[in-house]
């Protein structure tokens, strides 16, 4: 696919040529940016465009187009960060932005870079996704045809389906990173997301199902079998939820199905292993590297290099190729996710997890694709092992309190399990727990690892990013379930 090698040329053309900038201008700006003696200084140029179409009740009711670009300038000195950005990237605006950073730094001229910074380092290429611009497909009929097919398929599935909303959104993000260590790196990050909501109605009851598919690809990156599976998932969820009974209340064993329920590890483990939370001693896992934090058999990995996934990056937003970081290995805490700033302050090295929502935001250690590795249990045996509990297959996001490790998730598709059998679907149950306790109560890990379908997003300090989460089917012996029953 050659996403990396082409990317730098496209990034130059899209960002620099259009603004009349060249390497020499960037070198001068970096020299000024680092002039206060910064130990980390970088410029992040970004251009993003987005095209969307929406179908409601069989009619094309919405279309959208968005374009934006800009540059963020950052200088850090012993952990003190100064940052400014501009939506204008012509040289005069770039220099104004750099001067704004220097003013915020309140440091005199301590490091001289007369003539600027030599940009003599380049990032390597990658094969994770193609350097294509999915937004460039202006022919609306191609987008609308897919949405109409989704609508027709869902309606024909069952007469109780009364409404289908379907959306497609394609995004092109082109970035260029230049830093005071002489790095110039670029990436072209395509993204296309299909999503749908199904409303089913029967005997006066209304219920909702939802599903989606997201890829680092253009519209041609989806095959019809995948789209059909998405339609089947959303429709099944809506129909199941029509018959849902109130969720049970109390502490009980739970089984989490494969795929998106892996958000448990994103929330309960991943956020607590981000370098900034450790540097500031905020994480419930602070000081526990090398210690057992989970049951044997629990291995959690963050891997930004899985082809096509929305959490994958050829380079992170600091120009570094993401690692495959083993966070927990057979129950032992083994790794943290780092960006340059926090790695530098913790005498560690960046793991390529420096990510930012846009040029207007500061990078932080963020997850990419985070998942629980396969175990050996048969998923059917895991469900059969439950005397009374719940089996959850889809959640509507989740939250974690970093300091206490307390997390919660609310199900949008789940079943009551009795004597090893699924008894009935249940309405939204809220699962709550403390990360390190839940990890110790994992007793069975299945052999059916799946990543989510490409709809996962992650919020941290007001910045939202696309990620992937995943897991095989697993059993947790004790979890608090809150619902309406009892």
């Amino acid at each position: 696919m050659n996403g990396g090698a082409l990317a730098i040329d496209r990034a130059r053309a899209r960002l620099l040529d259009a603004a009349g900038l060249d390497d020499a201008a960037i070198a001068r700006a970096l020299g000024e940016l680092a002039g206060g003696g910064a130990d980390l200084a970088d410029l992040y140029f970004e251009a993003t465009s987005m095209r969307s179409w929406g179908l409601e009740g069989g009619r094309v009711t919405q279309g959208g187009f968005v374009m934006r670009q800009g540059v963020g300038a950052r200088a850090a000195h012993r952990g003190q960060v100064s940052f400014a950005h501009s939506a204008d990237i012509r040289e005069s605006a770039l220099l104004d932005t750099v001067r704004a950073v220097r003013t915020l730094e309140r440091r005199g001229e301590t490091g001289r870079h007369s003539g600027g910074i030599a940009l003599d380092r380049r990032a390597g290429g990658h094969d994770l996704y193609p350097a294509v611009d999915p937004v460039a497909v202006e022919d609306a009929t191609a987008w609308i045809a897919i949405l109409k097919r989704i609508d027709e398929q869902a309606r024909s599935h069952d007469p109780r389906v009364v409404r289908v909303d379907a959306n497609v959104r394609a995004t092109d993000t082109t970035v260029l990173v230049a830093d005071a260590d002489g790095l110039l790196a670029g990436d072209v990050r395509p993204m296309t997301i299909l999503s749908m909501v199904v409303i089913a109605e029967h005997n006066g009851q209304r219920a909702r199902g939802q599903a989606g598919l997201g890829r680092r690809a253009g519209l041609d990156g989806f095959d019809t079998a995948e789209i059909d599976a998405m339609v089947a998932t959303a429709t099944r969820m809506a129909l199941n939820n029509l018959d849902a009974i109130p969720a049970p209340v109390g502490e009980m064993p739970i089984v989490l199905g494969p795929g998106y329920p892996g958000v448990l590890f994103h929330e309960a483990v991943g956020h607590g292993l981000e370098g900034d939370h450790h540097r500031k001693h905020l994480s419930a896992f602070d000081g526990k590297v090398g210690e057992r934090i989970a049951a044997p058999g629990v291995t959690v990995i963050d891997d930004g290099g899985i082809p096509g996934r929305l959490g994958s990056l050829g380079i992170d937003d600091e120009g570094i190729a993401p690692d495959r970081t083993v966070l927990v290995e057979d129950g032992i805490l083994t790794g943290l996710m780092q960006d340059r700033l926090n790695a530098g302050l913790m005498n560690a090295r960046s793991t390529g997890n420096g990510r930012r929502q846009s040029y207007a935001h500061l990078p932080m250690p963020r997850m990419t694709n985070t998942f629980l590795a396969n175990g050996t249990a048969d998923p059917a045996d895991i469900i059969a092992s439950i005397d009374r509990g719940i089996y959850a297959t889809e959640f509507d996001g989740g939250q974690v309190d970093i300091v206490t490790g307390r997390f919660n998730f609310t199900t949008i598709e789940a079943w009551l399990v009795e004597k090893g059998r699924l008894v009935a679907p249940i309405c939204g149950a809220t699962l709550i727990g403390v990360g390190h306790e839940a990890l110790r109560h994992i007793s069975m890990v299945g052999d059916d690892l799946e990543l989510d379908s490409g709809m996962a997003t992650c919020g941290k300090q007001g910045q939202s990013l696309h990620v992937s989460v995943g897991q095989p089917t697993l059993r947790i012996d004790r979890m608090m379930v809150g619902g309406q029953a009892g």
Partner: protein, 449 residues
């Protein structure tokens, strides 16, 4: 005089009018909205500056109306080439969506060409130096408080200021603009004991600096909140009365208002279907909307269609008197726009029932759960089924016994609204919403057993 902005109101109005004019040349009617916002933010930790940021955003959003069809596009750049591209993209979209007469522009006589424009901007010190002083001073106060109690540690203290401009132009000749300001302070406190760690914060947000809570008040409240959350434990599952602190009570008011929006109503995704004229909450409750409160955090002279809101009752004696409608959702429901295309303006929940300050509300609670934080959960908009993981305090005979965590609360919004026994006089403002603490007689608590 503005401290942060780099563009003028005139420049924004001209950009909006240019977009409308270019759309007009292609035979379309149009509406253009342009915003420019500048932010300065300083975060301090350990007595020193940790991050210093100058940021902001800008954008031009255009909606064209052509032969019964609508298309929208937006750009962050206002130069002529960008505006021309946006017009072309919006026209392309309008060429493909299906016609919908309900999606047309509002009639010109519905627009607020003139009329009350609440003050949304106040001059205040907002330069980086002022914010640096504010953040480091607040952080030093927090550190001093933490030094007096070995269970406490000061987290970050943040001072942030925003100044913004907004202009709206339409092909009916409407062109108005507004300048806004916003000042924020918050401070975080961490608390540890043998049972583990916790954290909490306190924040203040106003449109002028001199309206903000003092640094001492913020640091002291954050410390009190963090300390009181130590030693938290779960409860046995039970039914009991629940008192929601004002900052969480505002979320409940927001859920009620959300169910009364035009979008929820016309999509039938509201737990209050066909609510106008119907009693949906306890009969001692009133909910009032005021778009025109000077320096109100959710004030505005007109919405993004150019239509003014009005000072009015949303709930009177528990009965719904009004919805929050745009021209589109109003047509779908056979009603008239209420000037709420961007959601609700300032809301105030009040009650004619017995009330009291915080301590009196604890007495009225008697034995039950105080909710101090929602940690996550879900409201099903269609059924009103509501569940939340919460943090709080267990109270017996009006006295706090211990902190509570690892419990869920569940109910239905309809039953909760009807079950409100009292609204406290401890009124706080959380963004658009003002409310005191809310006491609900009987809710389901899910705990360990």
């Amino acid at each position: 005089m503005t401290r942060l902005l780099s563009q003028t109101e005139t420049e924004l109005r001209e950009a909006a009018q240019l977009a409308v004019e270019l759309a007009g040349r292609r035979g379309a009617r149009a509406r253009a909205s342009v915003h420019h916002e500048a932010i300065a933010k300083i975060a301090a930790r350990g007595g020193e500056v940790e991050t210093a940021e100058r940021s902001g955003s800008q954008g031009l959003g255009l909606t064209v109306f052509h032969e019964g069809r609508r298309g929208s596009a937006s750009t962050a750049g206002f130069d002529r080439a960008a505006v021309e591209r946006v017009v072309a993209e919006a026209m392309l979209i309008a060429g493909h969506v299906q016609p919908d007469s309900d999606a047309d522009m509002p009639a010109a006589d519905a627009l607020a060409f003139s009329g009350p424009a609440p003050v949304l901007y106040a001059d205040s010190p907002r330069g980086p130096e002022s914010l640096l002083d504010a953040a480091t001073t607040m952080n030093r106060i927090a550190i001093n408080i933490a030094e007096s109690d070995d269970r406490l540690r000061a987290g970050e203290s943040v001072a942030a200021a925003t100044e913004g401009l907004w202009a709206l132009a339409t092909s009916d000749g409407f062109c108005r603009s507004a300048m806004r300001s916003n000042d924020m302070r918050w401070t975080v406190m961490l608390a540890h004991d043998e049972g583990g760690g916790t954290s909490d914060f306190c924040q203040s947000q106003e449109r002028r600096v001199d309206g903000l809570s003092s640094a001492e008040q913020l640091a002291k409240t954050a410390a009190d909140r963090a300390r009181s959350a130590l030693g938290a434990r779960s409860l046995d599952s039970r039914r009991c009365p629940v008192l929601f602190e004002p900052r969480v009570a505002a979320t409940l008011v927001g859920e009620l208002a959300g169910a009364l929006t035009g979008t929820a109503q016309h999509r039938r995704m509201s737990f209050l279907p066909d609510p106008v004229g119907r009693g949906v909450a306890a009969p001692h409750l009133d909910l009032h909307e005021d778009p025109f409160e000077p320096l109100g955090l959710a004030s505005g002279g007109f919405d993004s269609e150019g239509i003014a809101g009005s000072s009015r009752a949303i709930l009177r004696s528990g009965v719904v008197e009004g919805l929050f409608l745009s021209s589109f959702t109003a047509r779908k429901l056979g009603m008239a726009s209420t000037g709420n295309a961007d959601g609700y303006y300032n809301l105030r929940l009040s009650s004619t029932a017995e009330s009291g300050d915080w301590h009196e509300m604890l007495q009225m609670l008697g034995t039950g759960l105080v909710v101090t934080q929602f940690q996550g959960g879900k409201t099903d908009p269609a059924s009103g089924n509501w569940t939340q993981a919460v943090r709080g305090l267990w109270v017996e005979d009006g006295h706090v016994v211990h902190a509570v965590a690892d419990v869920t609360l569940a109910g239905t919004m309809a039953a909760m609204l009807n079950g409100i026994r009292a609204v406290g006089r401890d009124v706080e403002r959380m963004g658009a919403i003002r409310t005191g603490s809310i006491l609900i007689d009987d809710m389901r608590v899910g705990g360990r057993a």
